[in-house]
Symmetry: C2
């Protein structure tokens, strides 16, 4: 029933958190139930919805390291935002060493998610900018992975490596893993560079690329100040419209390869 989408991109600052929050919120607006799991020790997603990570009693960290924990105990409902969130905490940074050497450490999240997979239409996993154990867990538990690519050269160069990891996860631990799509983000209309990188993305990844483009709009950066998705504080802004468009596109297309 529920679809689990990992939002992964190891290049930093490419719009993963912004995409989880605003795509998630736009799907809620169409009547879907959405949970977002903040899997980044920096807890940007958590902070962006007004939750203070230091005041979180049970975070995704507990879920991963305590075999007796239940992920349901960590879910925070945000009725005004119509979203649910599993918050993060900086202790999550220790997971790599806490689970080191443990058999089956790539599938810890997968096992825990089984308990709630059918409680939501969509479960987004906001990944940190790394390719370590946290991202491996996200990819091992996801039905599909959505890859935001900032329309700049460095992000584009790095995608090959991410796709290798995805293939490896598919072979070793999660054969059904698909690519939900590649999302061009932070496209700066004022520059030729974004256009060139966007064309390279289209040429390299063809049908995998969402038609919807998320352009650069400073309104997004205000999100954490308002502590809500853009469709609450600027619902008719171009940025809000673009994520609504993306939500429509997600609902209508089959997950590709």
């Amino acid at each position: 029933m529920g679809k689990i989408i990992a939002v992964a991109q190891h290049k930093g600052g490419t719009g993963k958190t912004t995409t989880c929050l605003n795509l998630g919120a736009s799907l809620c607006d169409t009547g879907k139930t959405v949970l977002i799991i903040d899997l980044d020790p920096q807890a940007s997603l958590t902070v962006s919805v007004g939750i203070n990570p230091l005041q979180v009693k049970k975070s995704i960290h507990h879920v991963l390291v305590d075999p007796n924990s239940d992920i349901k105990d960590t879910i925070i409902q945000l009725p005004t935002l119509n979203l649910s969130v599993v918050p993060s905490h900086m202790d999550l940074a220790m997971v790599e060493s806490e689970l080191a050497g443990k058999i089956g450490r790539e599938k810890v999240l997968f096992k825990k998610l089984a308990a709630i997979k059918d409680d939501f239409d969509y479960i987004f996993i906001d990944c940190p900018p790394t390719l370590g154990l946290l991202v491996v867990n996200a990819l091992a538990s996801a039905d599909s992975v959505l890859i935001p690519i900032q329309c700049e050269p460095l992000t584009f160069y790095g995608v090959k490596h991410l796709l290798q990891i995805i293939n490896l996860i598919r072979e070793e631990v999660n054969p059904p893993l698909k690519i939900e799509g590649i999302l061009r983000t932070m496209y700066d209309r004022r520059t030729k560079l974004s256009e060139e990188v966007s064309e390279s993305i289209m040429q390299t990844f063809g049908d995998l690329v969402f038609s919807t483009i998320i352009y650069r709009h400073i309104k997004f950066a205000e999100g954490p100040v308002h502590e809500m998705p853009i469709n609450f504080y600027a619902s008719r802004s171009p940025g809000a419209l673009e994520y609504r468009e993306l939500a429509k596109e997600l609902l209508t297309h089959e997950t590709k390869k």
Copy 2:
């Protein structure tokens, strides 16, 4: 003789690599000798100077995991750019597990740098967007740490945590570690938001903050395409002038606390 500066900021995409490259290049222009160590498995710095990480025979990875390796064997001189670089490689991502449990694993880089510390006026260490073993090594071996802060809320919120880690490193492994300065980056003049975050940065960190601000200029993103620092492909652009200004400021101020 040589000064080692770690450029660290765990929030992604905040200008660490761009600062290492362009501040480094601007210092070269004043006659200083500069080495940049790419400590990020994504190898953005390496790629930005036209080196293909996949063709690198000896990278910083070898230096960290092979006790018999000599960092001098990894240095690539780039005479046209007047810079030297120790390249990275994606295998660096495995260092966390390769050095897990090894006594003294926080000071591996420190020991290796001793051999070349006096060969350069400045050694910059480009850090990945994490707070793991690689960044710990960088902070444990540095004389000072330069912290780029993108003028947006999420980056500002995260700085406290980074400063906690710096204090911890100072207490446990590197008492002389200072803060070189806090650098406001990617300041978007078109928005009130950058101004507000910049003021919060000034109020919170006072004298630690460089007076020089690096504004948002799309010319920076072209860097990896030209495979050179901005003062080579756009030497009279505002962005190039700002990093030259920063180099002057660095040379004239005492490293603060």
